[in-house]
Point group: C2
Chain length 164, copies 2
DNA sequence: ATCATATGTCAGGCTGCCTGACATAGATAC
DNA sequence: GTATCTATGTCAGGCAGCCTGACATATGAT
């Protein structure tokens, strides 16, 4: 038989991500909550208690304002998010979880903890901690490790630039 | 406060994946290769030397045959993949890398190694190994950990079922 | 007042992924 | 030998996420 040669990291990362994501959304739905999409779930997790702007959320999600706006729209329609004017600046609208949204958020947090515990049972608590530690690397930079010649990319107005 | 510094695993996994993916595709393009999409790259990585069927590739990618077929189509059009009849079974068509595709594949492998080395510089070789080890967990199972009461299960006809 | 900038929103388009449907070919039952 | 079942490959249609482009509005600098 063939030897599965050292599978590639991007693929492994993707699988792990999918595992968590699917399990969480399924568990949320199994708990009787409204259906939540993956980006909505991600949006939920980048919100602060004090309220956040769409732009700020987009930066944290690593997507454009427009994409984040879409997720916000869905969540507002579902009654889990609300938009309130920012007292400090009238051009801003803060997005905030409604009580309902807060409840779902807490639920999601519990699920995630459970999932992590489930993982710890399999690979050990130390391994999970090591995983976290490794992943918390500030990936911010696009290495552009040029084997040949380097390429230049224009810094757009609101590029994703996942920097957290 | 609820520990805002403790970011959620799915998000961390997604960021890491994006980092690798973007860096690799950018490096590939910077090296003068034809543009490759993310799923095409993934497809490339699940091929065996002996040739693989679209169905098998789909299973390994965790997507449907149709989706895999799409990626294959693009790669064939780009001259990096070829489809040959399977001598063992006429209803199968094996997909195989062309010499051109083989070259690009090797290139991609080098880039990935470089990226991993780059990561090792930041977090240490041990941490990278630990990351690998943790990620190579067989995620195969959909935990369905029900916090609430209703437990629902849906065994679909030909679901992706990322089981590897 | 005017202009540059940041933010929020909508419109349109691309791509990945899905389900549905169908053709083909090997395996199995009769 | 024929009929049926199953696995595979392919195409068509549709949905969702993410993007760029464009525009309105509000703030701050000049």
């Amino acid at each position: 038989m063939r030897r599965p040669t050292h599978r590639q990291l991007p693929q492994l990362l993707g699988e792990a991500r999918r595992w968590f994501e699917e399990a969480m959304l399924a568990a949320l739905e199994a708990a009787g909550e409204q259906p939540v999409s993956a980006p909505q779930s991600q949006l939920f997790s980048v919100l602060e208690d004090g309220g956040t702007t769409v732009s700020e959320a987009a930066r944290r999600m690593g997507v454009t304002r427009q994409t984040a706006h879409q997720a916000v729209h869905g969540l507002v329609a579902a009654g889990m998010l609300e938009q309130v004017p920012d007292p400090a600046s009238a051009r801003r609208r803060l997005i905030r979880r409604t009580p309902e949204g807060e409840r779902v958020h807490r639920q999601a947090g519990l699920i995630l903890e459970g999932l992590e515990a489930r993982l710890a049972e399999r690979i050990g608590r130390d391994a999970v901690d090591a995983l976290r530690a490794a992943l918390e690397t500030p990936w911010g930079d696009p290495p552009t490790l040029a084997l040949g010649r380097s390429r230049e990319s224009g810094p757009e107005a609101s590029a994703p630039e996942a920097s957290g």
